[in-house]
């Protein structure tokens, strides 16, 4: 018997998402109770082996293009249907009991927290350019973000991070699973080496080449003059 097939059978019958650690414990407990030789063979299966088998299984399901997938959300695995079939399933089981969708400001703020955590309110406001008090309250009430510590700066302001519920809400496996995670996480925006414009940082031509209209903004359609 293959590890992945056992995992498939177990997850198929599981009442809730299961983590690799719980699966490992399940293998150990089964070996303990069972008389047969087969379960004993999997007594000391490693967590990494379980994860690898789960990933292989998930790939197989995807390749087979079934209407359901084996997915990992917030570190726990389960079978879930593909979104395309939602209308029929919704009729069958009823609409999911989910809070209302997040507003655009809430999503933006949440994105900033998710990629840059832990960070303070001031740092969030620095990026968004507006106060975030109301939005933060909504996000905290919905338990998508929480205070995770205090910054080591004067006043010791609280720092914020996302919760496990955040991963569940967006169906993410882990924070590394965020779209474009490597690009957005901690790397600051670099000033481009090759300046695209006449003057460093912007397209404004040096004052001696500026026309009066441009300065006064009366003819907004005049493109910036090319560099001599």
């Amino acid at each position: 018997m293959e590890l992945k097939h056992i995992l498939e059978a177990v997850l198929f019958s599981a009442q809730k998402p299961i983590t690799p650690r719980e699966l490992r414990e399940l293998f150990a407990a089964t070996a303990e109770q069972a008389e047969e030789a087969e379960p004993k063979a999997f007594k000391k299966v490693k967590e990494e082996a379980i994860v690898a088998a789960l990933e292989e299984l998930a790939r197989e399901h995807e390749a087979a293009a079934r209407t359901y997938r084996l997915v990992c959300v917030a570190g726990a695995w389960q079978f879930a249907s593909q979104p395309d079939y939602a209308p029929w399933i919704r009729t069958l089981v009823g609409a999911k009991n989910r809070p209302p969708r997040l507003s655009q400001p809430a999503l933006e703020t949440l994105a900033i927290i998710a990629y840059r955590q832990p960070l303070t309110r001031a740092e969030i406001e620095q990026i968004r350019g507006v106060a975030v008090d109301g939005v933060m309250q909504t996000l905290m009430e919905r338990a998508l973000v929480e205070q995770v510590g205090r910054a080591d700066v004067p006043g010791r302001p609280g720092t914020y991070g996302t919760t496990a519920l955040f991963l569940e809400y967006f169906g993410l496996r882990a924070l590394e699973d965020l779209p474009a995670a490597d690009e957005l996480r901690k790397i600051p925006v670099k000033r481009p080496e090759e300046l695209l414009t006449a003057e460093p940082g912007l397209a404004t031509v040096p004052p001696d080449q500026l026309t009066l209209e441009q300065v006064e903004g009366e003819k907004p359609n005049v493109p910036p003059s090319p560099t001599p």
């Binding site: 912007l202 397209a203 500026l210």
Partner: protein, 266 residues
């Protein structure tokens, strides 16, 4: 005018408005003409004033920054450098562009998160019913009496029996801390064994504090204590939403305080 009014509602602050203006220019952010942008931005702020909208302070700050940039532009370059040297600051133009680029990235990724939100809304996990092999009798949940609990905690305390009790220890643990720890442990796993609670305890005091935390949670009806079968280990589980009968709650805490014989740490 009316058209502007509608648009205003979507601006989530000065950066949002600036991005909108950059999009209108149809140029890369790095190539945008800030002087022109400043003019358009201030036009909008004026318009907001005309429409008698409440102008958020952030818009005025941004307008001031843009005006500063614009005024700097008017100076010959050699004079600009002198000013910059005094300030030791970064080029304000670059500072603004960097902020815009960063904000735009997050704005874009927020759209992706929204897609995730939608797709997750339409994803249904498989939640099979529990395969029911046993006869359909209601699951027994035998009650545990306070004496069972006291016996159990005494068994744990035996581990520390040899310690010299005359030593004075600092109170390192508080009941509220332990309550938090318990609540978190319950979040991770639905049911804990009694012994697991004390597995990590290093002293008699810690055991007592953990025990008090557990009793407090029972009193607050946050957890329920069961013993699956006689003489098996006591289990701790999160309480079901329906409140359990609140028998013997005051009695519980007082008993414990007396049997441990130690002052209740705080």
């Amino acid at each position: 005018m009316a058209e502007y009014k509608v648009q205003f509602e979507i601006f989530e602050g000065p950066l949002d408005l600036l991005l909108y203006l950059v999009r209108q220019e149809e140029v890369d952010i790095y190539e945008v003409n800030l002087t022109k942008l400043a003019t358009s931005f201030i036009e909008y702020v004026d318009l907001m004033r005309e429409l008698d909208l409440d102008i958020a302070g952030e818009f005025l700050v941004m307008a001031a920054t843009l005006m500063y940039i614009k005024s700097r532009e008017l100076l010959p370059k050699d004079l600009q450098v002198a000013v910059e040297g005094e300030e030791e600051g970064e080029d304000p133009r670059w500072e603004l562009i960097r902020q815009l680029v960063e904000y735009k990235k997050f704005k874009d990724v927020a759209v992706k998160l929204q897609e995730h939100e939608l797709s997750q809304e339409n994803t249904f996990p498989r939640l099979p019913g529990k395969p029911d092999f046993a006869a359909d009798v209601a699951p027994v949940r035998p009650q545990v009496s306070i004496f069972d609990l006291v016996n159990a905690v005494n068994a744990v305390l035996k581990r520390f029996a040899t310690q010299d009790t005359r030593d004075i220890f600092e109170d390192k643990w508080t009941v509220s801390e332990k309550i938090e720890m318990l609540v978190n442990a319950m979040k991770a796993r639905p049911a804990l064994k009694f012994s697991e609670l004390f597995a990590a305890a290093t002293s008699r005091t810690e055991v007592v504090v953990t025990f008090l935390a557990m009793l407090e949670l029972i009193r607050l009806k946050q957890i329920i204590i069961t013993q699956p079968e006689p003489f098996s280990e006591i289990e701790i589980a999160a309480a079901p939403p329906a409140p359990a009968p609140a028998a013997a709650e005051t009695h519980t805490t007082s008993t414990v305080a007396s049997i441990t014989g130690e002052p209740q740490p705080n």
